[in-house]
């Protein structure tokens, strides 16, 4: 534990004992008074201003029919729906972007971070260029660039780019086949879950065996074969599992399938690339913080290279990487609010439109803050839990 110095404002006065307590109370009383006065003045001003400008207050507007045009929602939406429902869809979109963004940027960040410490000169140089460019340019600029330049250079729907069967990329968005699950799908999913559970048990048994005898089981091989073979077996036995609805060109545009709109694609692209650069730096500093002697000692003890990675390097690297990555995750969530700049209907974008229509800024801004604080609280408590798993247990 670091020592925390005790700094006391009352030390201004060299009074001791009872005198100090009185001074302390006086200071506190004065602060409370000032805060109360300022809050009251602000409240009073706000009341007067709202009245003068004919702005309603309270959350009554949430039940009013909004008529907002929103083009990209996770749940069905009609312009005749209420403001409250529209705002709720915005919150869902924010959560969706945050969730996908965290997963994708973690994957890319780990790859780039490993590339950065690679012994291959050209790979590590390329990764360094990527990180230094992305980190030193504002995210908004990256977003504008992807939105205006990358998407503008995509072809018209009629001349779509078709990299895989059923996947069409054009300037209206990315069209993917829409999977429709049948009963067999649930069997396959159940088989996958079962395989995962058995793998977990095998890991537990192997750990206990290794702790007792020093010899574990070939867990990786058992796990991989289970996870692949069991669902595959069910897949062949089950009557019908999935079929896909493909996007079809009708008139000037594609219909059907899953559409990733340009705004969404640009936002994800920019957000993920930007955050991945920061996560890559955490991964790099984590790996570089593990001393070479650790690996050499593990080698000398006769550990296999997979075990060295799992038992020696990773636990120590994670100890350095996780706290910094927590910060990057929370800033990813906050940065997703830049969606407003390129027109993706997230919470800030929809809320901004509502403010424009009824001027109820205080309520909307309050809601924004509450939602962001809640998301960030969830992320930091999850990450703190993960962090407590990897930190050294101090006695």
């Amino acid at each position: 534990m670091r020592c925390v110095p005790y700094v006391n404002l009352s030390a201004i006065f060299s009074a001791g004992g009872a005198g100090r307590t009185v001074v302390n109370l006086l200071i506190q009383g004065a602060v409370v008074g000032v805060v109360a006065f300022v809050s009251w003045t602000l409240f009073d001003n706000t009341q007067a201003n709202l009245e003068a400008r004919n702005i309603a207050s309270g959350f009554g507007f949430m039940n009013v029919e909004g008529g907002l045009p929103i083009n990209d929602t996770l749940l069905p939406y009609e312009p005749s729906d209420t403001y409250g429902y529209a705002f709720f869809l915005g919150v869902l979109n924010t959560l969706y972007v945050a969730f996908l963004g965290i997963i994708l940027s973690t994957i890319i960040g780990i790859i780039i971070g490993c590339a950065r410490v690679s012994s291959n000169w050209i790979v590590s140089r390329l990764a360094a260029v990527y990180v230094e460019v992305l980190r030193n340019v504002p995210l908004l600029l990256t977003l504008f660039f992807t939105y205006a330049v990358v998407l503008a250079s995509l072809p018209h729907p009629r001349r779509s780019f078709n990299p895989l069967a059923g996947v069409f990329i054009n300037n209206r968005g990315i069209y993917l086949p829409d999977p429709h699950p049948h009963t067999g799908f649930w069997f396959v999913s159940a088989a996958l879950l079962l395989a995962l559970f058995i793998t977990y048990l095998v890991f537990r048994i192997s750990k206990r065996k290794r702790d007792l005898t020093g010899e574990g089981l070939p867990t990786a091989r058992i796990g991989f074969s289970l996870i692949i073979i069991l669902p595959a077996l069910v897949f062949y036995l089950a009557p019908s599992v999935l079929d896909f609805e493909f996007a079809v060109l009708k008139g000037f545009n594609y219909r059907g399938g899953i559409v990733l709109r340009p705004e969404f694609s640009a936002l994800m692209f920019g957000l993920v690339l930007y955050t991945a650069a920061f996560i890559a730096e955490n991964v790099r500093s984590g790996i570089q913080s593990v001393k070479k002697g650790q690996t050499e000692a593990a080698n000398a003890l006769g550990l296999k290279s997979t075990l060295i990675m799992r038992k020696v390097v990773l636990p120590q690297a994670l100890r350095v990487s996780i706290p910094a990555t927590t910060n990057d995750y929370t800033s990813l969530v906050k940065n997703s609010s830049l969606a407003v700049a390129i027109g993706y209907p997230d919470m800030v974008s929809i809320g901004g439109t509502i403010i424009g229509q009824n001027d109820q800024a205080i309520e909307i801004i309050g809601l924004w803050m509450a939602v962001y604080l809640a998301i960030n609280l969830v992320i930091s408590s999850l990450m703190n839990w993960a962090n407590s798993k990897v930190q050294v247990v101090e006695r």
Partner: protein, 369 residues
């Protein structure tokens, strides 16, 4: 028995001159083998990268330089297949100073020279530390006088401020004001007085928990509601206040990290010799704490400079905003890539320069100076 004839010449072991190492282990070939082709996986990676670079670099290079238009108007650009840099040439004044009157452009330019001079002086350590603090504290006033006018200079309305000048101005004032505020908040957060402590936590944590955009919206839309009717302030100042608040909360957390690194003995010693609270902090604790966190403070400055680009959302046209506006010019449609690449280059040069400076402070360590 034969007589040993050459007894006069004693046998001495003479090593042969060392052979040069095999050609495949040293020199360029050795370097290639060690760094690019050690093992099949790395060789594969190298080949993939080379194919990728070979596919990207030549067309990019010819678009950027060989086929690019450097002088001429939009018609010249349309005849060329490469980048249109003459677009930047026509618009650079808008990029840098916005719609500032052309006859007065020397004023922002002179302000820029002053800023560059002081930055170089700081990086090169030409000034004494106390003088440096004074100069940086005085700089915003000098720059404000130059750009705003008054005292003989023509007053330029704030609605005409824009471009890189505005970005740097917002960031500079934000940084200079938020560092002392952040220090106060950090001290307050560690105060023993419960009310002050909770007040500071209540300011710092909510601000750190929400995006800058919501703070800017608050400054731009909500602040007019908070102020009395006869005390309204313009949008630029409101946004600047929002940026200062936002930055102070982050600065406070950085400073707090430094305060935590100071051993308790320092504080005990300072109190033992009878220093008051403020003297103890300003003479003993803070000088050490700030030295510890100087690299992180530089990091915050970079982040804040990048963050000023968000003011475009509340209707101010900063550097990025001017670049976006320039791409909408009907005479120069379709040159978004050039505008954003130029923008990125300028941002990159400034941010990378600052981060190098931060790295150099880190290398010297907290005890140097």
């Amino acid at each position: 028995m034969s007589v040993v004839t050459h007894q006069s010449e004693p046998l001495i072991f003479k090593p042969l001159p060392a052979q040069s190492p095999p050609l495949t282990l040293v020199g360029p070939i050795g370097w290639l083998r060690e760094n690019l082709f050690n093992g099949w996986f790395n060789s594969l990676l190298t080949l993939c990268c080379l194919v990728l670079l070979g596919g990207v670099i030549p067309p990019l290079f010819s678009w950027l330089f060989l086929d690019a238009t450097w002088v001429g108007d939009s018609d010249t650009c349309r005849q060329q297949s490469g980048a249109c840099w003459s677009f930047i040439g026509h618009k650079y004044q808008v990029f840098f100073v916005g719609t500032y009157p052309s006859s007065e452009v020397w004023r922002p330019a002179f302000a820029g020279v002053l800023l560059a001079f002081l930055s170089l002086g700081t990086a090169g350590r030409f000034f004494h530390r106390k003088l440096l603090v004074l100069l940086w504290a005085g700089l915003p006033f000098a720059l404000f006088f130059l750009i705003n006018g008054g005292l003989g200079l023509t007053v330029v309305d704030q609605s005409r401020w824009g471009g890189l000048m505005l970005s740097i101005g917002l960031a500079l004032v934000g940084i200079i004001v938020s560092i002392p505020l952040g220090i106060l908040l950090a001290l307050g957060r560690r105060s023993g007085v419960v009310i002050i402590k909770s007040l500071c936590i209540g300011i710092i944590e909510p601000i750190r928990g929400v995006p800058l955009i919501t703070i800017l919206f608050m400054a731009s839309v909500m602040m007019p509601l908070f102020l009395p009717e006869n005390m309204q302030i313009n949008n630029l100042l409101r946004v600047q206040i929002g940026i200062i608040l936002f930055s102070s909360a982050y600065m406070a957390e950085v400073v707090r990290g430094g305060l935590q690194a100071i051993p308790l003995g320092q504080i005990d010693a300072a109190r033992a010799i009878g220093l008051s609270y403020w003297k103890m902090n300003f003479l003993v604790v803070l000088p050490q704490a700030l030295r510890h966190v100087l690299p992180s403070l530089v990091g915050r400055c970079i982040a804040l400079f990048k963050d000023t680009s968000l003011v475009i959302i509340v209707g101010l046209l900063d550097f990025l905003g001017m670049a976006k506006a320039a791409t909408q010019d009907s005479e120069w449609l379709g040159y978004d890539a050039e505008a954003y690449i130029f923008c990125a280059l300028v941002y990159w040069l400034i941010c990378f320069g600052m981060s190098r400076y931060g790295r150099s402070i880190e290398m010297r360590g907290p005890t140097a100076q």
